[in-house]
């Protein structure tokens, strides 16, 4: 299966009875997942620090016939996260899905990495998902179960020079997911990770766009992938729906690499 395109045929209404929070839903993969969840019938909470961006995504979901609201939320602030989660819980019978997709990428080697940059990456990419899980898990338990999807990265499994803070945060996030998966396994709450690599949206496009010749850089990176191409956001959405839906009810504490085989080249 190519995994690319054919969005209309994907509507199978697998998420109709649940509220799905997508943190970082205003852009990149979070945006794509929000829209797909809307098509699948979920009541989507598009939570993001970028309120106009979140509103644009929520409006697009509604215009497409779905249900969605935008909530402004800084994932590094526990009060914001608590308030967002409480508001989300009031929107439907249960919070069935939490996607932690808010992240920043830092491209600074150890010796040049400032305290501030280190802390900011850890706060957004690691503490953010922790705060979201801590706030949402009790609601999921109360509702009889749920699915947490953390957006990791190939760089949480293997490393590449120049990403110390990002790698450390994503590596830590994977273990946090496993911890939460074990702690809430008896509650029918599942916690899994998606680990995309270079995908034609979001952080990758943003950072590669800063190169002198972005297209050449992207082509070079694509050529280095085992599948000789970049990932498509729809492929990430497919996996997110799988994890969010009742198709994956016995899957927890797992990481699904969405990297065209890249991580398989090295010890994970």
């Amino acid at each position: 299966m190519s995994g690319v395109g054919a969005e209309q045929s994907r509507r199978s209404h697998q998420l109709t009875d649940r509220v799905a929070i997508v943190v970082g839903g205003a852009s990149g993969l979070g945006d794509a997942i929000s829209r797909r969840f809307g098509q699948e019938g979920a009541t989507v909470v598009v939570a993001d620090i970028d309120e106009p961006g979140a509103k644009a995504v929520a409006d697009a979901i509604v215009a497409d016939g779905g249900n969605a609201v935008a909530i402004a939320c800084d994932v590094t602030k526990s009060a914001d996260v608590e308030a967002m989660t409480t508001a989300a819980a009031a929107l439907g019978p249960r919070i069935g899905v939490l996607v932690c997709s808010a992240a920043i990428e830092s491209l600074t080697p150890v010796l040049d990495l400032s305290d501030e940059e280190w802390q900011q990456v850890l706060d957004i990419d690691l503490k953010g998902p922790f705060l979201c899980m801590r706030a949402a898990l009790p609601h999921m338990v109360k509702g009889g179960g749920g699915s947490v999807i953390a957006m990791g990265s190939t760089l949480g499994l293997i490393v590449a020079p120049g990403h110390p803070a990002y790698c450390a945060a994503k590596g830590a996030l994977l273990n946090l997911c496993k911890q939460a998966a074990i702690e809430h396994a008896p509650d029918n709450v599942r916690v899994n990770m998606l680990a995309p690599s270079a995908t034609t949206t979001g952080l990758f496009m943003k950072h590669s766009g800063k190169a002198p010749d972005p297209d050449a850089l992207r082509a070079k990176i694509a050529a280095g992938m085992p599948m000789k191409r970049l990932g498509d956001p729809n492929e990430v959405c497919d996996a997110a729906v799988f994890l969010a839906s009742d198709q994956s009810t016995y899957l927890s504490g797992a990481v699904i690499p969405l990297d065209g085989g890249l991580a398989a080249r090295r010890i994970v």
Binding site: C167, A168, N175, L176
Partner: protein, 266 residues
Amino acid sequence: MDVVTIAAGLDFSGLLADKVALITGAASGQGRAAALLFGAQGAKVVVADFNDEGGAETIKMLEEQGSEGLAVHADVSVRVDVDAMVDATMERYGRLDVLYNNAAVQMSGRVVDCTDDEWDLTIATNLSAIFWACRSALPHLLAGDGGSIINTASTLGLIGSEGYAAYGAAKAGLVLLTKQIAVEYGPAVRANVIAPGSIDTPRFRKVLDSTPGAQDFVEGLKRTIPVRRLGTADDVARIALFLASDLSSYVSGAVLPADGGLAVYR
């Protein structure tokens, strides 16, 4: 002190002769055991800890075995302390060859019960502190003739478990950070991880003393460890010596479990 014994024809003494090793958390337990073993192998040892009394005791033990050391007060969760401990090392010895990040704080708590303060302190002590120490020490390690960074993670940084949300996350982050450093500074500096399992140290005993049914707990724990015993601080120190010395000159970015097989069995 056990000295590492030997295949015929190889001299396994003085493995760290003329080297300077900085060990955090060296006032007790695994850090102290490594300090004494490194000292016995010829290293000058900088004993960094926030427990000044224990640090002084480690120095006394080093001197009693004929080794040389320097005690430095450092709370590794405080960035300026971390920089100061590296500065003190350079001021006294003018070089740094081995950085052994052993200090850690262990707080248990499930995700939903972990407070912001517990999270922040655990991440600072067990992850950010190691980043700070490496950033501070790397220029000196790079200036030498082959440096070694040894970072202490944990079995709980390799596998998931219950009740160690922040601790497990920090230790797993540390594994990836170490691999990053191995890749970034590969030509001159090696960086590796030790992942201890259940090690019988004073801290372990302290936790045990406050646990009801401690003996049953320990017996149950031993049944989950393939070698059927708890680890000792010396078990871990020997692995650290391997990583600190040229015995491991082609090992970098590796994770060595010091767990009697726990992580593969559980």
